[in-house]
Amino acid sequence: MRKNLIMGLAVIVSAAMIAPFAWAVRVNQPAPDFTATDSNGQTHHLSDYQGKFVVLEWTNRGCPYTRKHYESGNMQRLQQEWTAKGVIWLTVLSSAPGKQGYMTASQENAYLKQENAHPTAALLDPTGALGHLYGAKTSPQMFVINPQGILVYDGAIDDRPTTDTADIQGAKNYLNLALEEAMAGKPVSDPVTRPYGCSVKYANE
């Protein structure tokens, strides 16, 4: 009993430690491990995917920048293309309850179906713990983690920070470039870019 109590306390303390500080994730450093639950109730740890490339995509279905990439089908195409090549694609929802982009598990599943989206999983992060751990600021914001668990890309999906779907064609897609270069064993040319979009709708501090 006593042991359980002590473990319970340890969990609370560590959760409280993570929340107030944006953990500085840096490219070319190990990506912090996390535990998160997806819209089907399954648990995912980053460490489950050692040996694979992992993409983290911050999303908010109401954000006009996110909508640009879903209504055009661009995000779905990227998800399909990269997961077909063995990449683990985790879409993350860090909107707090009551804020734009917050979804229950069943709402998210319906949305994924409606949009014909193909992430490996959609992680529900209503407390913002995962978002704060990675310092995610916008939707969409993209991270790429290599098979050794090193963060190799942090930033925007492409170089056109607009809400206009016409800007997708001809844009320099930083995510594709990062994955192509990293898979070819090359250093990523643009490892950090300014993520553009709406602010992530975290709970008020």
Partner: protein
């Protein structure tokens, strides 16, 4: 020429560098032949804080002005129409993109009369007010220098008197951590301002460019572009 944005209470639009999120307004001018327009002269922005982020922009209202040169050989009394296609993003909790086409037809006059006639004196006052909000060049007698430490940049601003408060707005993204507190330390000849480096900053930078505001909300804003000197690593 200026475009006046009236923003509903609680909402904001963005500066040239929007900070952690958002997007600056865009103006595409449609001008009569041989008219020329320069780029937007952005007024000094405000820091706009939300959970975990800081953006740079404007609440309530903003006038974005651009210098314009008219064609030679225009005749008095002729009318010319200047139009602008304006795109913007306005945010509060959520963001909404907007666009509008606006236009203004003004008579040609070789006499400067404070735009009497088609434009009211209120318009003139607005443009003068907008110009006053554009950051000024640094006075020649002032000195600004910057050093790079391990985690911070330190800006030293010498105005020859103690300055209580200072805020830096970076023009480049991913140089400073936007949501970090900027620590201002006054001294006899000015103020030192400590800026935390961005987590995304991977290489040393040659210069810090941006807007420096002295005091808080005083309208004393200056354009700076200062070389960054690396401080030698401390001996341990």
């Amino acid at each position: 020429m200026g475009v006046w944005f009236r923003v509903e209470k609680g909402w904001h639009i963005y500066w040239k560098n929007p900070g952690d999120s958002g997007e600056p307004a865009k103006i595409q001018w449609e001008l009569p032949p041989r008219f020329h327009v320069g780029s937007i002269e952005w007024p000094a922005p405000e820091r706009l804080a939300a959970p975990s982020i800081v953006d740079y922009g404007y609440e309530n209202e903003a006038v974005l002005i651009a210098p314009m040169r008219v064609a030679a050989g225009l005749k008095n009394g002729e009318k010319e129409t200047i139009a602008a296609n304006v795109n913007w993003l306005v945010c509060r909790e959520i963001c909404i993109p907007g666009k509008a086409q606006v236009s203004l037809t003004l008579p040609v006059s070789s006499v400067v009369r404070g735009w009497k006639g088609s434009a009211s004196s209120a318009d003139v006052a607005m443009l003068i007010g907008a110009r006053a909000k554009v950051p000024k060049p640094l006075p020649a007698t002032w000195k600004v220098s910057a050093t790079a430490e391990k985690n911070d940049f330190v800006l030293t601003i010498e105005t020859r008197k103690p300055e209580r408060a200072a805020t830096f707005f970076p023009l480049e993204p991913e140089q400073i951590k936007n949501d970090a507190t900027q620590l201002a330390t006054p001294f006899s000849r000015g103020v030192r301002l400590r800026l935390q480096k961005s987590d995304g900053l991977l290489k040393p930078i040659a210069q810090l460019r941006g807007v420096l505001e002295l005091g808080a909300g005083t309208g004393r804003a200056y354009q700076i572009a200062v070389p960054v000197r690396a401080v030698a690593a401390e001996n341990r």
